[in-house]
């Protein structure tokens, strides 16, 4: 456990030692805040629903940018060899890096809490729905990030890692937009695989175990695949 946190701390610091963290946080807050505030008075309702809608869309771009360097940089720089010859297990390394990136994104999301405060001054937002929205967003982000860390382990080129992550996330994101053209059983399947479908359930304030199982198994699956990629160097 200790080593996971040591690595997470180091990775987290290196986000702030480089411009990555500042660029991500600032840009995200500007874009999300701008989009949110321009529609706030048109909708004329005191809730955060539009914010969440925007957030899960623009995070499609931001998350791959945060995760792309996690393993690809280590591969390119050769430091992976140092990391993998330390007495740690591969899954501990994957988890440590995942936690660091997750922490950065959660902080970014937490900063949007300021919008909750400002709309509280103007109206009476539904606290439960807002919390539900944040929980849903945190789960969505968890899946995005697991996909991002997976693609980062596949290549030593950060740009390639970014694009692959974006494409995979995007596919999972739009799956449920096609269901109208699909026959029933396929529609159900696509719906169940879609990131957005499960989010819509949770953001309504209904936290169903089916949705939680979906998110946790997606996160687990991609982290598991990442570990497999790291271990592939040991294939005979």
């Amino acid at each position: 456990m200790n080593q996971i946190l040591v690595l997470a701390k180091k990775e987290f610091r290196s986000y702030f030692d480089s411009p990555v963290a500042y660029v991500v946080i600032t840009l995200f807050l500007i874009i999300a805040g701008w989009q949110f505030s321009t529609t706030l008075f048109i909708n004329n309702t005191a809730d955060l629903r539009t914010l969440f809608g925007i957030a899960k869309f623009i995070l499609l771009f931001f998350i791959p940018a945060v995760s792309m360097r996690l393993f690809s940089e280590e591969k390119r720089g050769g430091t992976l060899e140092i990391l993998l010859t330390l007495p740690t297990r591969d899954w501990q390394l994957v988890l440590g890096k995942y936690i660091a990136a997750y922490a950065l994104i959660l902080i970014t999301l937490a900063l949007t809490g300021i919008h909750y405060i400002s709309i509280s001054a103007m109206g009476d937002p539904d606290f439960g729905a807002s919390i539900g929205g944040y929980i849903g967003l945190a789960l969505v982000v968890g899946v995005y990030l697991a996909i991002g860390i997976f693609t980062s382990s596949l290549t030593q080129n950060q740009i390639v890692a970014f694009i692959m992550a974006f494409v995979i996330i995007f596919i999972f994101f739009i799956l449920d937009k096609f269901v109208y053209f699909m026959p029933g059983f396929l529609a159900n399947m696509l719906e169940f695989l879609s990131i957005d479908y499960h989010y819509n359930n949770i953001s309504r304030g209904v936290i169903d175990t089916r949705n939680l199982i979906y998110y946790f198994s997606m996160i687990f699956m991609f982290l598991f695949l990442t570990v497999q990629v790291l271990e592939s160097r040991k294939w005979k």
Partner: protein, 313 residues
Amino acid sequence: MISVQNLTKYYGTSLAVNNISFEIAKGTVVGFLGPNGAGKTTTVRIVTCYLSPTSGTVLVDNKNILTDSLEVRKKIGYLPENAPLYYDMNVVDHIRFIQDMRKDTGRTNGNRINQVVEICGLGGVIRKNVGELSKGFRQRLGLAQALIHDPEILILDEPTVGLDPNQIIEIRNLITESGREKTIILCSHILPEVEATCNRVLIINEGKIVADGTPLELQSSFEGKGRITIQIKNNLDSFIEKTGHVAGIERIIDTRIISENLKEIDLATVRGIDPREDIFRLCIENQTVLLEMKREETSLEDIFRQLTGKEQM
């Protein structure tokens, strides 16, 4: 301490290491010599648990690298080729990070970092970013991170590549110093380095071990198959003709004309025979003046080139 048996490694279909076996006793400094691409780095990567062998067993302190990987990794300090480091950290944070990742307990942490900083001569740069360091300091930091847990085994892959001669000597001294109580594997294709620091040499070529022994043993087993350089004056043609009859001389390697009546000749000698006396007598007999005669000792370099190169001596 390290026991490698029938180690074979394929990358896809290309064979990198071909059925090699060797044992390394505790406390020896072993030089792993070979041209680029000979399989040194692959072997070392297998011993450090970075790669797995295609077949064969590797035991480190009687622990199998496949089944007891974590235990093995605890015992080894490893400096990979080109000393890869995290360029966005500063020196002391970097050392501390590796120490924390190794969960190095049982000694006061601060002291060990100070010790390693001192051993590796990093005192002046501990607050600097790794990215700002010169190549020499990076190698030292690489060595520091390998030494931080005071490992029983130290594996260094080409630790002096790209350094200037002064830095090379410093790193070499560092290795010799820390080698007093450790088992060290030093990969290199720089021969004087191995000659200076190692008490055993393994020469590897195309995935196979082609020579194994102390530098002295290797030299004596190849002794005699050296060359003699002579500078002679007068009656040159007849002298050269007659060298063919001298027992210890294999052939004339090279003839350089210094002036009209003065030549320098390189002679290859037959293994185990020293023909210098015969050459001297031949000179007298032929009334040739012998200005200079020099016998070149077989160096590790010659052995290395004989064993690994296509080049003939």
